[in-house]
């Protein structure tokens, strides 16, 4: 089931959260690429502090979602892989952060009201 199928069209900000971006490593990769025009694979690996294989796997997921563009080339004899955020990736990142901010600022569902004992106004338990 795709993300769009599951997210529905509800108004609650949780519907705008993106499971592809919410993973900590992928979020770090997107945050890194959001600050750059383009970045070399090794730079992203060093900044996010992950191994080559982990970065490669997560970049494949982001590329499949259309959030990251991968370009391979050579500098002299040495192969280089360049990563950049697509417009869709940049938009998805912004929407995800706004949704997180909206949820974080909402009152918690676990907040419970304590019934007043003797005519006092209700108070929220924190």
């Amino acid at each position: 089931m795709s993300v769009s199928d599951r997210s529905g069209d509800g108004s609650h900000p949780r519907h705008r959260l993106d499971p592809v971006i919410h993973s900590p490593v992928r979020l770090s990769i997107i945050a890194c690429l959001a600050a750059a025009e383009k970045a070399e694979f090794g730079f992203v690996r060093d900044t996010v502090e992950v191994s080559d294989s982990v970065l490669s796997k997560q970049v494949s997921t982001l590329e499949a979602a259309g959030y990251v563009k991968v370009k391979k080339g050579y500098v002299g004899k040495f192969p280089r892989t360049w990563l950049s955020l697509t417009a869709a990736g940049r938009r998805a990142f912004d929407v995800h952060l706004h949704a997180l901010a909206a949820i974080a600022s909402a009152p918690s569902s676990t907040d419970a009201r304590i019934e007043p004992v003797s005519g006092a106004s209700p108070v929220k338990r924190r």
Partner: protein
């Protein structure tokens, strides 16, 4: 690493406290990335400044060397600068646009300056040196903006 569906199941029930933690994590990730990108993007200012200096030198020499020497100088410098730029690991977001604007302005000024110079002021340093400084100004302005980031 949880699969996206499992994460999404968790996201459906995400609490404000968990969202706040995720938000702080994202802000930290952005701050770390921004600092790293700024640190490794310093070459962009040097790149534009070097192009500006080359522009002044080549235009000043063009007054005596002529069109062929001028074009040959730029071809050689273009190859070297592209090789240098491709070696770098990252460029900051917005650099391509700044670079495009700087080089577009430089290209137009250079076309006008050289057109007038080669036709009317060949060999006259009093024209070519000030013109070279004016033509290179957009590149130095770009370098200055990069350094101020």
């Amino acid at each position: 690493m949880p699969e996206p569906d499992a994460i999404h199941d968790g996201l459906d029930a995400i609490e404000p406290a968990a969202a706040a933690v995720a938000l702080v994590y994202a802000e930290n990730a952005q701050a770390i990335a921004g600092k790293a990108v700024r640190a490794e993007s310093r070459w962009t200012g040097r790149f534009l400044a070097a192009f500006g200096i080359a522009s002044i030198v080549f235009l000043a020499l063009a007054s005596v060397g002529g069109v062929v020497a001028y074009v040959a100088s730029w071809l050689a410098y273009g190859v070297i600068s592209q090789w240098f730029a491709r070696r770098e690991r990252v460029s900051w977001r917005g650099f391509d646009r700044l670079c495009g604007r700087s080089f577009a302005a430089w290209f137009v000024l250079q076309g006008v300056g050289c057109g007038v110079g080669f036709n009317f002021f060949a060999g006259e340093a009093a024209y070519w040196v000030p013109m070279a400084v004016v033509v290179s100004a957009p590149l130095f302005a770009g370098a200055w903006r990069t350094a101020r980031r």
